[in-house]
Amino acid sequence: MYRIERSRDDNLTRIAMLEMARLCYTCGICVGDCPAARFSDDFNPRQIFLKVCLGLGEGLTGEDSPIWKCTTCYTCSERCPAGVKPHEVILALRNLSFKQGVCPQSVKAVRASVLEKGAVGAVTQRVTDLRKRMNLPEAGDDQGPDLEQFISEA
């Protein structure tokens, strides 16, 4: 008997087990209309999912992994006849990459911006002027609640 070694990451194992319980039968419907699969060479949600199920998911983390190509359009999860959610598995792999410190700079930047300022992006003079001209409420002073503290205190 072969013994399949599961991922050492608890969260990834939890998600893979949860999804595997629904019994993917590798029909490939998640690949057919996947935008990232159609418009790049090395992205395949079925393959990613199966690798995770076989305990090979950790080879899929890192900045250069194809997982970052996913457009999070949710088509795979909408169409799966077995109710598997491939996009959840891809997001779990991204979370694991972040935890390992090996994810694209843009993800780190968005996270830092949200935690520091409560928003993605900054209040610029341009937008302040435009909002005034358009009679919109002020955009705020860039000092949203300290979400970093909010998360860590809870």
Binding site: D33, P35, A36, F39, S40, F43, W68, K69, C70, T71, T72, C73, Y74, T75, S77, E78, L91, A92, R94, N95, F98, K99, C103, P104, S106, V107, K108, V110, R111, V114, G118, A119, V120, G121, A122, V123, T124, V127, L130, R131, M134, N135, L136, P137, A139, G140, G144, P145, L147, F150, I151, E153, A154
Partner: protein, 288 residues
């Protein structure tokens, strides 16, 4: 028109992208909803929804907790967003917490430490309000500028309708609301190739993202689209700025992109000067 006394009220969730980058989109949505008698309340304590793509890619736990924070700030009316990403993110968080009692209890306990009581109000994109037959009739009656014969493409945006288990709006693969609204003005919805394909913007890989937007713009042009209607600030930027970038590299499309609310503002007689259309990269001058 709706009789007095049935005025709908919502917390207005503007989201980062429109608030900080595309204020003209926020202006047009507020104007449209005000014209339709919908009352909006502002909540300055709202933060990023948080972003269901980038922020959630870092940590699902933190995404869920901060979404729960936004949902729990107030009681009272439901939330309306102008961005499908915000609506989808908040709806999905609500769905996750609705389905998992244990998780909800732990999130509630964490929120209590900051003096918040976990609440799960309904969140919707403003197009859901516009899908009401009475509201649609109201819009039809208010159309003063018609666009008879204008060949227009529509692009829905994935998060407007998905995940359908949380969003519950329209057919999750073939929505029709934008085409229906176009028709109220006499414009002619165009069925172009891959109409329901994602715009590509949320891919963190630039090559994938630009290959998709180029493919879609070529399909729209081949089908004769004279304008594109969108309902998501990210799709807007992908098609407007993305188109300008492709044109600089030698592409030729010339398809102005309008947010659905801007188009309806125009059709309902608002002065084009109010709409900030001069801020668009692809100038919609031919439509004015």
């Amino acid at each position: 028109m709706k009789p007095e006394g049935t005025k709908q009220e919502f917390w207005f969730f503007p989201g980062c992208m429109a608030r900080l980058k595309l204020p003209q989109v926020e202006r047009s949505v507020r104007t449209l909803l005000e014209d339709l008698g919908v009352s909006l309340k502002d909540e300055p304590r709202f933060t990023c929804c948080p972003d269901p793509v980038m922020f959630r890619s870092a940590s699902r736990d933190d995404w869920l907790f901060l979404a729960a924070r936004n949902l729990s700030l107030d009681s009272g009316p439901p939330i309306v967003t102008l961005c499908p990403g915000c609506a989808s993110s908040l709806s999905e968080a609500r769905h996750v917490l609705d389905e998992d009692e244990e998780l909800a209890a732990s999130v509630a306990a964490r929120l209590r430490k900051s003096g918040l009581k976990l609440a799960l109000p309904h969140t919707q994109h403003f197009l859901q309000i516009l899908s009401d037959p009475g509201v649609r009739e109201d819009i039809a009656e208010r159309v003063t500028k018609r666009f008879d014969g204008l060949k227009a493409g529509t692009h829905y945006g994935c998060h407007l309708v998905r995940p359908s288990s949380a969003v519950h709006f329209e057919n999750p693969e073939k929505p029709t609301c934008l085409d229906d609204l176009l028709s109220l003005t006499g414009a002619e919805p165009v069925d172009y190739d891959d109409k329901y394909l994602c715009c590509g913007r949320p891919s963190i890989d630039d090559a994938t993202s630009s290959a998709i937007v180029e493919h879609k713009l070529k399909a729209m042009k081949a089908a004769g689209c004279e304008m594109l209607l969108v309902a998501c600030p990210f799709c807007f930027e992908q098609f407007d700025l993305g188109q300008a970038i492709l044109e600089r590299k030698g592409g030729s499309f010339g398809i102005p992109v309008l947010y659905v609310s801007q188009f309806l503002n125009l059709a309902m007689g608002r002065d084009p000067q109010e709409l900030g259309l001069e801020l668009h990269r692809i100038k919609p001058n031919g439509l004015l």
